[in-house]
């Protein structure tokens, strides 16, 4: 498949450049922060605004995330997984923490609406390859999309997602598996 081959090629390049990036961050090279920003700020911000729709607060969270990556880079363990998995975990946790701050007003909006408006409103300037993927992910039915959003972006636990969507605990697991399998097919 063409998309798959592009994706694999990209993955290879990414592995190399991530290594350079991580090394430079470990060497306390400030220039690496700019690289980190160019490469991942939009993706991380995309994850953050799903939890904190208020753009000003979300930007504060993003700043916080950059500081955390810079300070904790020694804790990143290559053997445990991809660099992006690590930084998106930091972003998710920071975003959730922000909603727990005193004075934070949770916007009482239906989640599906939030996600759809975010996707529709924001200008996304990405390279064509990921735009293809975005196009593709739109083929996921909304029930799968909501489930991934809840668990991956919003940081819901299995039990919380089950309660929120009023489905049995086991169904959350199997649905998530099905959703990822569908993404596998698309990629």
């Amino acid at each position: 498949m063409y998309v798959a081959s592009v994706y694999k090629k990209k993955k290879m390049q990414q592995a190399t450049t991530d290594d350079i990036l991580i090394n430079r961050l470990r060497q306390r090279d400030e220039g690496a922060v700019a690289l980190l920003y160019d490469k991942y700020a939009a993706a991380l911000f995309g994850a953050i605004v799903r939890v904190v729709p208020n753009k000003a607060i979300a930007e504060e969270v993003l700043q916080d995330v950059f500081t955390k990556i810079w300070r904790n880079i020694e804790q990143y363990d290559t053997s445990k997984g991809r660099f992006y998995t690590w930084i998106v975990n930091i972003a998710r946790n920071a975003a959730i923490d922000a909603t727990r701050q005193k004075g934070y007003k949770r916007q009482n909006q239906d989640l599906e609406n939030v996600v759809n408006t975010i996707d529709a409103q924001n200008s996304i300037s990405l390279n064509p390859e990921t735009l293809d993927v975005k196009e593709l992910t739109n083929h996921l039915t909304s029930e799968y999309k909501i489930l991934i959003d809840l668990v991956y972006f919003q940081g819901f636990t299995q039990a919380e997602a089950a309660e929120h969507l009023s489905m049995p605990l086991g169904t959350v697991k199997t649905r998530l598996r099905t959703a990822i399998n569908k993404l596998k097919e698309l990629f």
Binding site: K11, M12, T16, I20, E30, V33, A34, Y37, A41, A42, A43, F45, G46, A47, R50, K55, A58, E59, L62, Q63, F66, T67, W70, K80, G81, R82, Y84, T85, V88, N89, R92, I118, D119, N122, I124, S125, L126, T130, L131, V133, K134, T137, I148, V151, Y152, F153, G155, T157, Q158, A161, V172, K173, T174, R175, L176, R177, I180, L183, K184, F187
Partner: protein, 272 residues
């Protein structure tokens, strides 16, 4: 629970999405260390979620980048070289009063940086290629080993069938030299139906390096070569097959064996 079921259960997805309690997280990590298939699944799902997440990227305000970079500059020591000319921070940072290097030098620096980047990229590309080749060689070696193992298992299964078969005659080989300690020294298993001949050594003396043991089948009163064998006390060795055998004998021959037995070197003999 087998590995496939474990993977299919959806627990890896929850792990990658960081939605598992600590104890279950540790469990998945332990499983991944034991089973490469699980680690591979984790890697794949992490890669998929990265693409998914990047596809849902949202650009922050354009001015945020400078804001963050400035914050970093303020936090770490002020830069000693190449201060970034910025009108706003001119007032705050006296260092930026240092004369800007002429354009030609910065252009040169830019060119050098590009060159460096280029050679770095080339270097990593080469490294990736080497690793890829090494990986392929490893995989090939693994396949060869796998085939070898499969063959060995099939061979052992076949030998076991012969040994268990009621059609197999067990022929103890006894010492021919009357002066030596009596007792059987080797055993031949001959299967009449399969025409298969197997051999085990119990306590033959170890031959010198230039010598090798050879098995003979006595067919119609004449010795027929049944093959040379290794000096191994653990192996069940396959020898040449025969239709009709009166006896088996073992002689000590030069390395590679002989076409006719050296009868004075006959070690053991077993009659059927």
């Amino acid at each position: 629970m087998n590995i496939k079921e474990y993977i299919e259960s959806g627990i890896i997805e929850l792990y990658v999405m960081n939605a598992l309690p600590e104890n279950e997280k540790a469990e998945v990590e332990a499983m991944a260390r034991q089973h490469p298939d699980i680690q591979a699944e984790i890697d794949e799902i992490q890669a998929i979620m990265q693409v998914y997440s990047q596809a849902h990227a949202v650009n922050p305000s354009p001015e945020l980048k400078d804001k963050i970079l400035d914050k970093f500059k303020a936090e770490t020591q002020p830069p000693t070289q190449n201060p970034k000319p910025k009108t706003q921070s001119d007032i705050e940072h006296p260092t930026s009063n240092i004369k800007k290097p002429p354009l030609s030098i910065s252009a040169l620096l830019g060119g050098l940086a590009a060159l460096l980047m280029g050679s770095l990229i080339f270097h990593f590309y080469q490294q990736t290629q080497t690793l890829k080749k090494e990986k392929e060689a490893c995989e090939q070696e693994q396949n060869t080993q796998k085939l070898k193992n499969q063959k060995e298992i099939a061979d052992l299964g076949y030998k076991l069938d012969i040994l268990k078969s009621p059609d197999t005659r067990v022929v103890p080989m006894l010492v021919t030299d009357k002066k030596a300690v009596s007792g059987f020294k080797a055993t031949v298993y001959w299967n009449i139906k399969e025409k298969a001949t197997l051999l085990t050594i119990q306590n033959l003396p170890k031959p010198s390096d230039d010598k090798q043991y050879q098995l003979w089948a006595i067919v119609n009163g004449k010795p027929v070569d049944a093959g040379v064998f290794n000096y191994s006390l653990t192996e069940v060795q396959t020898m040449k097959p025969f239709d009709n055998v009166g006896a088996f004998a073992v002689t000590l021959e030069p390395q590679g064996g002989s076409s006719k037995p050296t009868l004075e070197n006959m070690q053991v003999l077993g009659a059927l």
